[in-house]
């Protein structure tokens, strides 16, 4: 029969139908998967402004950014010196204090208050909280200790406390996110 040669009409319809069904299937899966991502209202709340004028050297505050704590710390000259004295190559997550702060504002250490191990809130930002043996932050959950540049020095956490994207709107206001 002539239809045994080349593409048969039935093969064409078969492939076309299965392809159309496949494309339609992808079209159904995409919204079903995507709906679970952060919604517009969650993303809209993903930047925050903080007034830092009242934070004296040696003090820190806990603010909220993306429903998570963020630590804003005004380092003392002594703490800056301690952070700069460390041999960067010896660190688990090598970074200098300069890389973790903005130029000319090295005393403002702004990091997430989320331990990079399993997400607990480390101690050390609040008044009277223990700062751990490296003088920065200490996570009570599994004993991770961070130094005065919030770099991981001891314990199970793999990385330094994350520095979020931020900018100084003015000398006294920081916009995070």
């Amino acid at each position: 029969m002539a239809e045994t040669e080349g593409v048969r009409r039935r093969d064409f319809i078969n492939i076309a139908a299965v392809s159309a069904a496949g494309v339609a299937g992808i079209g159904i899966v995409v919204p079903l998967v995507s709906q679970m991502s952060a919604s517009a209202d969650v993303l809209a709340a993903s930047s925050t402004e903080i007034d830092i004028s009242a934070i004296q050297p040696g003090q820190a505050i806990k603010a909220v950014f993306r429903k998570q704590p963020v630590f804003v710390r005004n380092l003392t000259p002594h703490e800056i010196e301690a952070a700069n004295k460390v041999d960067v190559a010896s660190l688990r997550d090598p970074q200098t204090l300069e890389e973790r702060t903005k130029e000319g504002k090295e005393n403002w250490l702004i990091t997430m208050g989320v331990c990079t191990h399993l997400g607990c809130v480390p101690l050390g930002a609040g008044e009277g909280e223990v700062k751990g043996e490296f003088g920065g932050y200490f996570c009570p959950c599994h004993g991770s200790a961070y130094d005065t540049a919030a770099r991981i020095r001891k314990g199970p956490a793999p990385k330094n406390l994350e520095v979020p994207k931020y900018e100084f709107s003015s000398d006294t206001v920081v916009k995070i996110g």
Partner: protein, 433 residues
């Protein structure tokens, strides 16, 4: 799917005959859990726990549906709706505590059920599929229990959700987007609470479906038994009804007494006091622990404190924790011994009682303890043994062990002799069709 001597369903009433020709559900029930299902006569009490697990699933679904009638999955009110259920809803306290303790009871029962399988080699051919489906059920149970624990939106709920979803963040490259996708945000919040509620309602019915497959797969070869010797003749079995229905009824009685003691006298003994503090994203509890039934696996997660070549410690812990359960999927092929029951395997039995059980108990204890020395090192040693048990000891033991002589048949193991099977050559072992 049954032995040739199994009784046949013969409806007597005209309505039942009419029904049988149109929708033979009574026939299905009769052949599955009635007089038509022939079961080895020598089952011990460990064989009650499959039935009890089914009972727990029903208990959880019934109390859970009631809880959902009074609960609101919104971070502003979730904590309060649970408290109001307990304080204000008629019998709400009973439903809440039966549901919370029912989860613990379910895990007690299922752990005994699983370890029954380990000891008696229930996972071996021809029941591999029964075993694999069982591990799937266990994984689904863990997911369901975890999400259920988040719903009251207390401190442990919140921080448990944060830590467990944080595990996915350990996966290279896709970890962080994946975590945000799972949570629908940057941290557990309303979106996460809502989807956890939705899935917590869905998954028990998925479990129910897999349980039906689990029983279906079991009924192809029929139940195993403590000797591990397959059924040979009609004297080896008794019908499920009335014999095992009665025995399971007795098990319900014992279970109900213990469960009532827990619910009425110690309803919060297995819970954590911190979960009576509403969730606070700004403050971590001093000691985050999961529910007790996750402790052995949580200990394995925390046992990895050193980077392993290029794999960070955190990812290693996550892989090991999931691997600790996934290794069960390979058990039917890791254990090559032709002898099924641990009762006839002197070396295997020693490793089971003096290796696996103590290792599990040590991991259990360490998982609930603070993450400090000496518990971390003890967990490391126990986790090492745990994996060695499945990946090295079981294959090696099954190769070198000299098993004890097996009884000729189940009947012989019970009565000391088995005249019927010897005489009745027609009832060959392959009779399970």
């Amino acid at each position: 799917m049954s032995f040739p001597w199994a009784k046949h369903y013969t409806p007597a009433h005209p309505f039942m005959k009419w029904m049988d020709d149109r929708l033979p559900i009574p026939r299905l029930v009769y052949n599955a859990v009635g007089g038509g299902y022939e079961v080895p006569r020598n089952l011990n009490y460990f064989w009650n726990f499959g039935f009890l697990a089914g009972l727990c699933l029903v208990l959880q679904i019934v109390t859970g549906i009631v809880m959902a009638m009074h609960y609101a999955a919104n971070t502003a009110v979730a904590f309060d709706t649970i408290e109001m259920t307990v304080r204000d809803v008629n019998w709400g306290w009973l439903m809440r505590y039966a549901h919370a303790n029912g989860a613990s009871a379910f895990f007690v029962v299922i752990y005994i059920h699983i370890f029954r399988g380990f000891y008696y080699g229930s996972y071996k051919a021809p029941r591999e599929m029964v075993w694999l489906l069982g591990v799937v059920i266990f994984l689904l149970m863990m997911a369901t229990a975890f999400m259920g624990y988040v719903l009251p939106w207390g401190q442990m709920s919140f921080w448990g959700a944060k830590v467990i979803t944080g595990l996915f963040g350990a996966i290279p490259f896709v970890g962080e987007p994946l975590q945000q996708w799972l949570l629908g945000g940057f941290a557990p919040d309303n979106a996460a609470l809502n989807r956890f509620f939705s899935l917590h309602y869905l998954l028990p019915f998925v479990i129910l479906g897999v349980v039906i497959l689990h029983i279906w797969a079991l009924h192809i070869p029929g139940s195993s038994n403590p000797t591990g010797v397959e059924v040979k003749s009609s004297s080896d079995t008794v019908p499920f009804y009335p014999f095992y229905v009665a025995k399971d009824g007795w098990a319900i009685g014992v279970f109900a007494i213990l469960f009532a003691i827990a619910v009425f006298y110690f309803p919060n003994a297995l819970g954590h006091p911190d979960n009576y503090i509403p969730a606070n994203p700004m403050s971590t509890p001093a000691h985050i622990v999961p529910e007790w039934y996750f402790w052995p696996f949580y200990a394995i997660l925390r046992a990895f404190t050193q980077d392993f070549f290029f794999i960070p410690a955190k990812l290693m812990g996550v892989l090991a924790m999931f691997g600790a359960i996934l290794v069960w999927f390979f058990l039917p092929w890791l254990d090559k011994s032709p002898v099924r029951s641990g009762g006839y395997r002197p070396l295997y039995r020693k490793f089971f009682f003096f290796g696996l059980i103590p290792a599990m108990l040590v991991l259990f204890y360490c998982g609930g303890a603070a993450a400090a020395e000496p518990y971390v090192m003890i967990s490391q040693l126990a986790a090492l043994y745990y994996f060695a048990h499945f990946l090295i000891i079981i294959p090696v033991v099954s190769a070198i062990e000299k098993p004890l002589p097996l009884p000729f048949s189940i009947t012989e193991s019970v009565l000391g002799k088995d005249d019927e099977a010897v005489l009745d050559v027609s009832a060959a072992p392959a009779s399970a069709v």
